[in-house]
């Protein structure tokens, strides 16, 4: 009798969280798949049209452009902040004067809302009066500074720089925690064997940090697919869609053009792009479970 009651206990504890999760997360995810097969303006009942949205999608120049922009973002995100964050973690993992101030300065950007970062950088990039062009022009590096957010060739990179500015501190935090968990005796042993600093880094420290690197990579990829706020606040994807990314394109198609079925199809593509990385993350979590 008692044991029967106890069997029910976990289900009772989970009842409300699971219902909330089903209603707001799992259910909507499934419904997005259905919506992607419909024509829907958000008002009348969605009408089923099969795979038409997807066929149109791959002929849509803005979609292809957004996809490529996401890939550029991803490429920059999985390299630059990772190298910088790891480098900083290596330097700051030692007793170094002013350690706290250094760490705080790199953490700061990730605490600001992306909207706030976007606005502040929008001002730095301002063609007239903005700090960057002011410096470039008064030091005569260039006669007239570029339109950081209005030039189609550089606008995406201008935004990615802001994203990197925010991300480096995060990567640094993760690597610092990883470095703390390394047994110092292993590094000591390498030194005694006469290994140089670089050699110790490449063949002892970096391999030991591999689990952290996996997490950092997954988070970087997921974050670059989620990129929305900065683009929305700084350019809305312009000029002429030059800085459009999938998340932003999906929002505009759905809520500005009322093509919600089409928007759902974009969301489905985003789902499959992130799926592989979600699975890698889950695989990592499962490996941790095995150790119990």
């Amino acid at each position: 009798m008692l044991s029967k009651r106890r069997n029910l206990v976990p289900y009772l504890f989970l009842l409300i969280p699971v219902i909330v999760y089903l209603i707001w997360i799992i259910g909507p995810m499934m419904y997005t798949f259905y919506l992607s097969l419909t024509d829907w303006n958000g008002l009348v009942t969605p009408s089923f049209i099969g795979l038409e949205n997807f066929e149109r999608l791959f002929r849509d120049k803005v979609f292809v452009l957004s996809l490529i922009n996401n890939l550029k973002w991803l490429l920059a995100f999985t390299t630059i902040p990772v190298v910088l964050g790891l480098g900083l973690a290596m330097v700051l993992n030692q007793a170094i004067p002013g350690e706290k101030i250094f760490k705080m300065s790199f953490y700061m950007p990730m605490v600001l809302a992306t909207v706030v970062s976007g606005l502040i950088w929008g001002w730095l990039y301002h063609p007239r009066g903005g700090l960057i062009n002011f410096i470039l022009e008064t030091t005569h590096i260039v006669e007239k500074g570029p339109g950081w957010l209005s030039d189609r060739d550089i606008v995406l990179w201008s935004i990615i720089i802001v994203a990197i500015w925010r991300q480096v501190g995060y990567v640094m935090v993760l690597y610092l925690a990883g470095l703390k968990s390394i047994n110092p005796q292993l590094i000591e042993a390498a030194h005694i064997d006469g290994a140089s600093y670089w050699r110790t880094f490449w063949s002892v420290i970096l391999p030991l940090l591999a689990p952290v690197t996996t997490i950092v990579m997954v988070i970087s990829v997921i974050d670059s697919l989620r990129a929305f706020d900065l683009v929305s606040i700084m350019t809305r994807g312009g000029p002429a869609n030059a800085s459009s990314v999938l998340a932003n394109f999906m929002y505009i198609e759905s809520f500005n053009n009322y093509k919600m079925g089409y928007g759902a199809a974009i969301a489905v593509v985003m789902f499959f792009l992130s799926l592989a990385f979600i699975l890698v993350y889950l695989w990592r979590v499962m490996q941790d479970e095995m150790e119990y």
């Binding site: 206990v9 976990p10 504890f13 989970l14 969280p17 699971v18 909330v20 999760y21 209603i23 707001w24 997360i25 799992i26 909507p28 419904y31 997005t32 919506l35 330097v91 170094i96 705080m104 300065s105 700061m108 950007p109 605490v111 809302a113 992306t114 909207v115 706030v116 970062s117 606005l119 502040i120 929008g122 001002w123 730095l124 009066g129 903005g130 700090l131 008064t138 500015w165 995060y170 935090v173 993760l174 610092l176 925690a177 968990s181 952290v212 997490i215 997954v218 989620r226 998340a247 999906m250 759905s254 919600m260 928007g263 974009i266 969301a267 489905v268 979600i278 993350y281 979590v285 941790d288």
Partner: protein
């Protein structure tokens, strides 16, 4: 003691590079601070590097009064605090069950929570928009509180469950022997022992929910209900070229999360690293 760091010239070079890059990292925030206390005319006429004609706080007042921050900032708290409370309450329930009981579907539920926290928001956006509307919650605080509570359940349950597994089983067994109900064990043993993790997660979640922009623009229409993030976007449209006002607004909007970070930095960092290493 610490000056022993500079034992090789190589380290001196690294240190100088570190100081320079730290300064570079702070330039955007410093620029914003300097801009916010000057008028736009002053900056345009005299150039950014000139000494200000005079220091003025008029931009902050304009952003607060005419820019609407006096509504937006309180709104952010009205949305963030209930979401934070609800998501922590529900996830500490769920996490306890997942951490401490063997039952069918345990692992499946756990992995569902973990996987869900990595979903792109766009995958949920349209159905949640429709659901919120059907529930009569579109353009209300509760619509936003609903999605924040639900979405953050994934991360919170994941972190709390892992932490609760580290609590020694004997303590719980002893309480069960004494005839304590499971609810009592949760409230009087599990929660107090989980407090370090809850504090870390709460600090992090406060920042995340407070800084949300996407859900705010999808689920709210009325200007009077907008949180600071969506409000700043409106402010930007209102003061298109008056950058000192926009920047002053942005700085004010970031004060709550910045304070939370400065005072709870340890928790914030712990929260970020809870899931990455063991």
């Amino acid at each position: 003691m610490k000056s022993g760091y500079f034992k090789s010239p190589w380290r001196v070079i690294v240190y100088i590079a570190l100081i320079l890059s730290t300064f570079l990292w702070l330039v955007p925030i410093l620029t914003a601070l300097i801009t916010s206390v000057r008028t736009f005319d002053d900056i345009l006429v005299n150039g950014f590097m000139s000494l200000p004609e005079k220091i003025t706080f008029v931009n902050f007042i304009t952003a607060w009064e005419r820019g609407g921050l006096k509504h937006y900032l309180p709104n952010s708290f009205i949305i963030t605090l209930p979401s934070l409370f609800l998501t922590l309450l529900l996830s500490s329930f769920g996490a306890y069950a997942l951490a401490r009981f063997k039952f069918k579907g345990n692992r499946l539920l756990f992995y569902t929570f973990v996987g869900g926290m990595l979903l792109p928001f766009q995958v949920l956006m349209l159905p949640v928009f429709r659901l919120t509307d059907r529930l009569g919650l579109y353009d209300t605080y509760w619509g936003l509180i609903g999605i924040h509570t639900a979405f953050q359940l994934g991360f919170c349950t994941f972190m709390l469950r892992n932490y609760m597994r580290t609590v020694p089983g004997e303590i719980i067994e002893a309480a069960r022997m004494d005839g304590s109900s499971e609810l009592r064990i949760w409230a009087q043993i599990m929660l107090p022992l989980t407090m370090p993790a809850i504090a870390a997660i709460a600090t992090l979640e406060f920042t995340w929910i407070f800084n949300d922009y996407l859900w705010a623009i999808v689920l709210l229409r009325s200007d009077s209900l907008k949180p600071i993030t969506a409000g700043l976007a409106t402010l930007q449209g209102q003061f298109v070229t008056d950058w000192p006002v926009i920047v002053a607004g942005a700085l004010m909007g970031t004060v709550p999360t910045l304070l939370a970070f400065l005072f709870l930095q340890r928790y914030f960092i712990e929260g970020l690293t809870l899931g990455s290493t063991k």
